[in-house]
């Protein structure tokens, strides 16, 4: 197939995800903190499109609000990782020598631990909660971005246009900002989408074991955990958040794949 269908398909799925998250910040069909045991486990109907859960909360509202949580946690985690990792990678490539060795080895050490497991430990020590989940996910994304930036930057530092910039008397920091970073942006964007998808899974995973976002804020991961005992009674309680996670990750991955192909073509 020659046409790049991944990009529009991914963009549509991500668009739905983002719009859902944005809408849920100001409005959901029902209040997700509103427990009403009398209306528990209602089947889907015109007033509750996806029905209600075991506490009588509207499932659609939960899914929408979960999108907000998922998006904001992942966005903050990946954004923080970019802010730390990219400058580290640029620095390592620009300075070389012991600075490079230090950044690279420190990244290797972090990579050596199973990320999700350590995030669990991290959340267990600092206590569960959204901000600690963000911190844990961000920490493990720092070496990813540092590494990608460093390898791309090292490739660019060998190019003649960088030599020309040095002949123009520009320093390493200035060359990194003016030439290296703009030319690495495409690769970093692609990597960021991949890490974003992983961050959504990580957030869901942490919430699933109770170490992520705390009630009453809904989370897809915790909804899955809560639905576990009721899987025989109301499978939709598990299917809805599961499908939401899968579609969000799938959409972002498609978007990243489409972007990667476009970046490769531009080069």
């Amino acid at each position: 197939m020659k046409r790049n269908l991944a990009l529009p398909a991914g963009a549509v799925l991500c668009g739905v995800f983002v719009i859902a998250a944005l809408v849920a910040t100001v409005w959901t069909p029902y209040d997700v903190a509103d427990l009403d045991i009398g209306r528990r486990l209602l089947a889907p109907s015109p007033s509750h499109w996806l029905g209600t859960d075991q506490y009588g909360r509207d499932l659609l509202s939960m899914i929408l609000a979960g999108a907000t949580v998922s998006l904001s946690v992942s966005l903050l985690a990946v954004g923080a990782a970019l802010l730390v990792g990219v400058p580290l990678g640029l620095l390592a490539a620009a300075r070389g020598g012991w600075v490079d060795a230090l950044v690279t080895r420190a990244g290797d050490v972090l990579f050596a631990f199973p990320a999700l497991l350590l995030a669990v430990l991290f959340a267990a020590i600092l206590g569960p909660g959204a901000s600690n989940a963000i911190l844990a996910v961000a920490l493990f994304n720092v070496p990813v971005f540092a590494r990608v930036t460093r390898s791309e930057a090292r490739r660019l530092w060998r190019r003649d246009f960088v030599a020309a910039a040095r002949l123009a008397g520009k320093g390493r920091a200035r060359i990194s900002a003016e030439h290296i970073l703009p030319n690495s942006a495409g690769v970093l964007l692609v990597q960021a989408t991949i890490q974003f998808a992983l961050a959504i899974v990580a957030e869901a995973g942490l919430s699933y074991v109770g170490l992520g976002v705390q009630p009453p804020l809904p989370s897809w991961g915790r909804m899955l955990a809560d639905a576990q005992t009721l899987i025989g009674v109301a499978p939709r309680l598990a299917i809805a958040p599961g499908l939401a996670i899968v579609l969000a990750v799938f959409g972002i991955t498609l978007l990243g794949d489409g972007l990667a192909r476009r970046v490769a073509r531009d080069d």
Binding site: R159, D160, F161, A163, A164, A165, R166, L167, A168, G169, K170, E178, H179, P182, N183
Partner: protein, 521 residues
């Protein structure tokens, strides 16, 4: 000579036209190559010679519309695939792109054999080793392409091309990326293979001097047509078409004479420069000087240390020992505003016209970059200096708004030159700056450079280019300067064996049976 008895063409194109979108790339071209014959196809870039080669191979892009007939002997006319069922072998300009970096060279040749013939793995391996020996490759078949030199890679590419025993070989600028010594060896190899096997060879090149030394017949292309065709000696002796005369003039080109270099203090002094690398290479105890306005050519095979000298002269790298003095001042120990003042005096043009620009910046920003060395320039002043630099290299100031990838190789080198000239340096360092250009663009650039009246350190593997352009030559061999002298003197009486090898390998337009230059003008 190969087509005297039986006239049976190996490959024949009849009235072939190729349309690429709006443009007519080939216009009713007819051409044939007989067994054992070498046909040289010459033309400036854009003349359609590559399109013709691709049409003959059935390798045209999908959007191309072909009319007329292409017939290959031994090839099934119904099979329009890339290699025409093994009847045709092809050698490309850049061997690295034709080789798989992850496979050993022996395995790649063996694969090429097994693609065309049903033979056992072991037989294919044995024949691959034979093919590698036939192309004069003296490295084991277990090597990977990146472990080989450019010339060795091209030999591997030739081994792959002849592996299936094709009847016809097509070589598209196969030596353009190589130094002159290697170029001579590759050409000799192709001629030997063609003669031994009675293959036909279509040799595509922009270099009439090179083709004149090997081809039986020459066809000259311009604007998608063959404008002249005939036996090599008659085409060279009595060219009938203006395009041929132009190519001949380019092959013999001597730039206009320049004023003699100003005597006095040297502008650049390199004293006892030593820089070695772990894993080999680098230079040892190199000393030389360049006077203001003087053009010095630095020649040597790849790996001789030319780039190391450049990087140290440009202060992109620090020497282990030795000094680089600019107008008497130590370049490597200058700091701050002194360093900026020194940097203003030396600028460079690099080899690769594609890699020397940030692809995301406009030509205006690219050319303006060295003005960073001039403190506190107003934006209007920057713009006017960029426009002046562009005009100086013969480019329209309007190009400043555009992105570099929109320009041809020759124009890009002009942009690179404009960037170097924008700070009005005393010394220009040119690193193989003309190697990637075709002969006519190269001659235009040489004319432009010789009119600049700036001292130059011109690194090249191409002695023919430096003849008549450089005042002095430095011959570099294995990290040391083995010979130094006036250009004419070194070329006429090379003392060191390595310089002699370089001079002998030069494709010599002067030795061709062609009239003296004034008659061409």
């Amino acid at each position: 000579m190969g087509w005297r008895g039986e006239w049976r063409a190996m490959i024949e194109l009849r009235e072939v036209s190729v349309r690429l979108g709006e443009t007519l790339a080939l216009d009713r071209v007819s051409l044939s190559v007989a067994p054992g014959e070498i046909l040289g196809l010459v033309g400036a870039s854009g003349s359609g010679k590559s399109t013709l080669a691709y049409a003959a191979m059935g390798l045209l892009p999908e959007r191309a519309v072909l009319s007329g007939s292409v017939r290959v002997e031994g090839g099934d006319p119904a099979v329009m695939n890339a290699l025409r069922g093994g009847a045709v072998g092809m050698v490309f300009q850049e061997p690295m792109t034709a080789l798989n970096p992850a496979m050993t060279i022996g395995a790649q040749v063996a694969e090429a054999i097994r693609l065309h013939e049903r033979v056992s793995r072991r037989a294919a391996r044995r024949r691959a080793a034979e093919a590698l020996a036939r192309v004069g490759l003296d490295v084991p078949p277990g090597r990977f392409p990146h472990q080989l030199s450019g010339g060795q890679r091209q030999r591997v590419a030739i081994a792959i091309a002849i592996a299936a025993r094709p009847r016809f070989l097509l070589a598209d600028e196969p030596t353009t990326a190589l130094d002159t010594v290697t170029q001579g060896a590759i050409v000799a190899l192709l001629v030997r293979l063609v003669r031994e096997e009675r293959m036909g060879l279509l040799f595509v090149s922009h270099d009439l001097a090179l083709v004149g030394g090997m081809a039986d017949r020459i066809a000259v292309m311009e604007g998608g047509r063959i404008v002249e065709e005939g036996a090599t000696s008659s085409v060279l002796r009595a060219p009938s078409h203006a395009a041929t005369r132009r190519l001949l003039a380019r092959a013999l080109h001597r730039p206009a004479p320049r004023p003699d270099p100003v005597p006095g203090l040297p502008l650049l002094e390199v004293q006892g420069l030593t820089r070695r690398y772990t894993g080999g290479g680098g230079v040892e105890d190199v000393s030389f000087a360049i006077r203001p306005g003087e053009i010095v050519g630095l020649v040597g095979a790849s790996g001789a240390g030319k780039t190391t000298i450049l990087r140290n002269v440009l202060a992109l790298e620090k020497p282990e020992t030795g000094r680089v003095l600019l107008a008497g001042e130590d370049f490597h120990h200058a700091r701050g505003s002194r360093l900026r003042a020194l940097r203003r005096q030396v600028q460079a043009v690099f080899q690769d016209p594609a890699g020397s620009f940030d692809p995301r910046q406009t030509v205006g920003r690219i050319v303006a970059e060295p003005l960073h060395l001039v403190p506190s320039l107003a934006p209007a002043e920057v713009r006017s200096r960029v426009a002046a630099a562009l005009a100086r290299v013969g480019l329209d100031p309007g190009t400043a708004e555009r992105l570099p990838h929109l320009f041809s190789g020759g124009q890009r080198q002009r942009i690179a030159l404009a960037r170097a000239l924008v700070v009005e340096p005393q010394l220009l360092v040119l690193d193989e700056a003309l190697s990637a250009l075709d002969a006519s663009t190269r001659a235009d650039m040489l004319d432009l450079l010789s009119g600049l009246n700036v001292a130059m350190l011109f690194v090249s593997h191409d002695l023919a280019l430096l003849r008549g352009f450089a005042d002095r030559l430095l011959v570099l061999h294995e990290g040391r300067i083995v010979e130094e002298g006036a250009t004419a003197e070194v070329l006429a009486h090379p003392r060191h064996p390595h310089s002699r090898a370089l001079v002998d390998a030069m494709p010599d337009a002067g030795a061709l049976p062609i009239p003296p230059e004034p008659a061409l003008r």
